[in-house]
Amino acid sequence: MTNLDAAGSIPPSIRVELAHAAVCNLARRAGVDLLVVKGPGMDPLVGFKGRASADVDVLVRPDEVGRFLDLVKAHGWWARDRFETGSPFGHSTTLFHPTWGDLDVHRLIPGIGVDPSVAFDVFWASRIDVTLGGQPCPHPQPAAQALVLVLHAARSEGSPRAGQDVVHAWTDAPSEQQAAILALVDRLDAHVAWAAGTGDLEAFRGDSSYRLWAVASRGGGRLEEWRARVEAERSWRAKAMIALRAPLVNTDHLAMLLGHRPTRTEVLVEFVDRFRRGAVEMARRGKGRP
């Protein structure tokens, strides 16, 4: 019997499966409701054969997110970023554990229009348990898994795997599965993001979130992204908050690039460089180049 404590010496697929077991075990013991939204437990109708997973993705009941984060931190995970800095959608935060690797904690699924707690209830009501690493791990039912996967693909600009995900989970899905997915798109008001994931975004050109999903699914510069984020917000107060935050440096992202928490000087250099890059972007756009 050999005791291996270093995560690096365990095959990644084994480590990821046991990481799912660890996270689900921890949540169950603490009475936190969560759902595994991607990964090795996906239904074969949804995840294509051989699709590898590098981390654990969970959707936590929104009003239990804070308690769950405190819980995992007490068990050795540390935060790589924050909801506010993790993505333009502010939907998830990533934590790292020396044995289990990365854990993405979602408080909402980008692209779903109904309130996050309503969406969670819909997923939770029809959840299924999938055994991973010998432990029961709650997952959304297969149509909901497919919806989440395609909505993820909608913000994975240029990713070949996201393209494969859409083909397998949607295009090639049986008609009954497709009908069940579309019913969820309606019920959860996910039409614009769904269209972005399935190549029909132009049908929503007049929608306030059109530009945001266009950038997420097709790419664009930082200026384009911030403009889209401002447009997508409904209240003037929220628009103003986004606009004010735009020039600030994302210190969590900079820390990942640098491999350490940035110094004041490094933050200042990045702050100045953002204006330079913005000017270059505008100049390129003026010349008609991407």
Partner: protein
């Protein structure tokens, strides 16, 4: 009425079997423990038969006499028990 004991995984044990190896973890904190091919067979047998029969079954699986494997089997199982991955429980039969 007899009291037979058997081995079972602890409730909070994670387990994955792949390519003849067994990966165990005390959840939720770890670490991950890897059982080599022989230890994996010992565990499989221990989970299948009564505790008293594990040594003889393992010996039979490898064409040995029980005394040749007894020490190794005991060491393996007690190590897993100390790591809180495995527990010995009584069953009324």
């Amino acid at each position: 009425m007899t009291h037979q004991q058997h081995w079972e995984l602890a409730h909070d044990t994670g387990i994955v079997e792949r390519n003849g190896l067994t990966y165990l973890a005390a959840l939720p904190d770890g670490p991950i423990v890897v059982l080599d091919a022989v230890a994996s067979v010992v565990l499989q047998v221990a989970l299948d038969v009564s505790a008293d029969d594990v040594t003889s079954e393992v010996a039979a699986a490898y064409g040995k006499v029980p005394t040749e494997v007894d020490a190794a089997v005991s060491e393996c199982l007690s190590g897993l028990e100390r790591a809180r991955l495995l527990r010995r429980v009584g069953a009324r039969g």
